[in-house]
């Protein structure tokens, strides 16, 4: 793909990159293989075993309905990863389309796009997401749309900056002089060269998106029961904070490990590809 395999090799040779890659691989595998790994049905209630301590029977304890926390966390990884990756992918594709068009053609369209991007830039993502949830109503689908729109400004801005910088390169001017159309220049020359920083930024944003999804879930505005989600699990755990603190500790730990692994991997990727400067331009 667009990430050269040599860069991936360089990334895996650093201890930080390798460690992050292994942790990420384990989390993704756990999410895919959830039905095989999870020792219990994530929705099976057993009120007699409610709020059990972590132990041999239930590795990470049980929640207030006696559901196995370990199984729920593994299934919760599915929700978090699917929402994080899908919403950021949508956001990236739309942001690239907007940013590339605005950067390449300029004019009134560019001015409008820049104005909207600058305006939404000063608003925290959580506030943008809450405005969209207010319009769309709570739920998984609206969480996804809300996250995609909350991060749209970032990708639009970055793509636009990349395209603007590349547009004045000699080889692009040469292509245009040879009679190439806008579509050819955009899709064959500008976008392929602009895509790497955007993908890396998208990777880092996925970590933020997972936190945003968990926050919305914690507010009760994200995934609705019985879908297990890390944020919603912690929200129900707040009522048991005095008797079963592990309901809050373990899902939060799952989020923290996932996000830190994503950030370290993304950071190592930036170094391996040597694109720190290009990311700053956005």
């Amino acid at each position: 793909m667009t990430v050269p395999s040599s860069a991936l090799g360089r990334l895996l040779r650093t201890p930080r990159g390798l460690g992050a890659a292994i942790v990420l691989a384990i989390i993704v595998l756990a999410a895919i293989l959830a039905p095989v790994i999870a020792p219990y049905d994530y929705a099976a209630q057993n009120l007699r075993n409610a709020n059990m301590d972590p132990g041999a029977l239930h590795w990470l304890g049980t929640d207030e309905f006696g559901r196995d926390l370990f199984s729920r966390i593994i299934y919760g990884a599915r929700t978090s990863l699917v929402i994080g990756v899908t919403s950021i992918s949508i956001s990236m594709v739309c942001g690239m389309a907007l940013g590339a068009t605005a950067g390449y053609f300029g004019g009134a369209f560019d001015r409008v796009v820049t104005m909207v991007v600058d305006l939404s830039w000063s608003f925290p993502e959580i506030l943008l997401a809450l405005i969209l949830i207010a319009i769309l109503g709570p739920g998984l689908a609206s969480t996804m749309i809300a996250i995609s729109i909350a991060y749209l400004a970032q990708f639009t801005r970055l793509t636009r900056a990349q395209v603007m910088a590349l547009k004045s390169e000699t080889y692009v001017e040469a292509t245009i002089s040879l009679g190439a159309g806008s579509g050819h220049v955009l899709f064959r020359h500008l976008l392929p060269n602009a895509v790497t920083p955007v993908i890396v930024a998208g990777m880092l944003a996925t970590g933020d998106a997972i936190i945003l999804e968990a926050t919305l879930g914690f507010f009760g505005l994200g995934a609705q029961p019985p879908t297990p989600s890390w944020g919603a699990m912690m929200s129900s755990g707040t009522a048991q904070i005095f008797i079963a603190p592990w309901i809050i500790i373990f899902p939060g730990l799952a989020i923290a490990i996932t996000v830190i692994a994503i950030n370290l991997f993304g950071d190592a990727l930036i170094d391996a590809l040597d694109i720190r400067q290009r990311l700053r331009e956005g």
Partner: protein
């Protein structure tokens, strides 16, 4: 400076109109007819038409927006459906709590952030620097609401130093301010450190060293002084983030405030309150950014030229 102020203030008008338009549209996009929620079961068609007329819903959308905007500017934000109180009263009750929390968190992140950043830069590549940078990485990646919950677990439930929730005493402010502040401290410290390291390489600093000035005086009186400019820039860009953090943390600590009110109303689908809260939060972000811009322009004359 006066010209800059006038131009910057004029810029607020289109921004405010755009934001208020989006918030006005919330009720329009919500699935279902708002009138159906208000009507009592068994109402006739005539009663429905009368109610639609009473709320002005039979007029054109731009007219409705103008009416809404006019009422809003007079402080009339409508009536809460579930809490059965004027929205403006609810906001007046909750706003002071958010303002105190937000400004304390901002002050905490600025002061502690600059101090830690300066400390890390002065001992660059030493163990202190590495420790601070690791903590900063953790502080900026951990979900803030989880950090808040852990604080409650440790300091309120286990040690009993602070109340678990609420806003009855000043001590109830400590944990929320710390939780919001940690993310801000991480951001400010990172920028301070990077700026100080960059400025320490400049020629004039070498000259100060050659002059025989004590290193501490150089670091604080000259390097830090110049490094404050990017810090103010990042703070004015990210002032909204502190507010966003406040929204989340208020809910975690069950403190009264705009954030708690907003999330409760969202869950109850009390849309007039949702609109009012979002409007106030948006205005807060806009005003916060404005203050940041003015402070920046006051510190750096070059910036005043950009708005001409």
């Amino acid at each position: 400076m006066a010209l800059f102020l006038i131009r910057r203030l004029l810029l607020l008008i289109p921004v405010f109109l755009a934001v208020s338009l989006v918030i006005f549209m919330i009720v329009r996009f919500v699935p279902g007819d708002p009138i159906d929620n208000l009507l009592q079961i068994g109402s006739t068609e005539e009663q429905k038409t009368a109610m639609i007329a009473a709320y002005g819903l039979d007029r054109a959308l731009p007219v409705q927006y103008a009416i809404w905007l006019g009422k809003m500017l007079q402080g009339d934000l409508g009536e809460a459906i579930i809490l059965r109180q004027p929205v403006s009263t609810l906001i007046a009750q909750n706003l002071p709590h958010s303002l105190i929390l937000g400004s304390l968190a901002l002050a905490f992140s600025t002061l502690v952030g600059i101090a830690t950043g300066a400390l890390a830069a002065s001992f660059k590549d030493g163990w202190l620097d590495r420790l601070v940078m690791t903590l900063i990485l953790l502080g900026s990646t951990l979900p803030s609401f989880w950090l808040g919950l852990l604080m409650i677990l440790l300091f309120a439930v286990q040690l009993g130093w602070f109340p678990v929730s609420g806003a009855r005493s000043w001590s109830a402010l400590v944990l929320p301010v710390l939780t919001i502040g940690i993310g801000g401290v991480a951001l400010v410290a990172r920028v301070t450190r990077a700026a100080m390291i960059e400025i320490a390489r400049k020629d004039f600093v070498t000259m100060l060293h050659a002059k025989g000035l004590p290193p501490l005086q150089i670091q604080l009186g000259h390097v830090l002084r110049h490094a404050l400019l990017p810090v103010v820039t990042i703070l004015s860009l990210r002032i909204g983030w502190v507010l966003g953090g406040a929204v989340t943390i208020e809910y975690v600590f069950a403190r009264p405030g705009l954030g708690s009110l907003l999330i409760t109303s969202l869950n109850q689908r009390d849309y007039p309150v949702v609109q009012g809260c979002l409007l106030m939060l948006a205005i807060a972000v806009i005003l916060g950014t404005l203050i940041g811009d003015i402070v920046q322009a006051a510190m750096d004359p070059r910036l005043r030229e950009t708005l001409r």
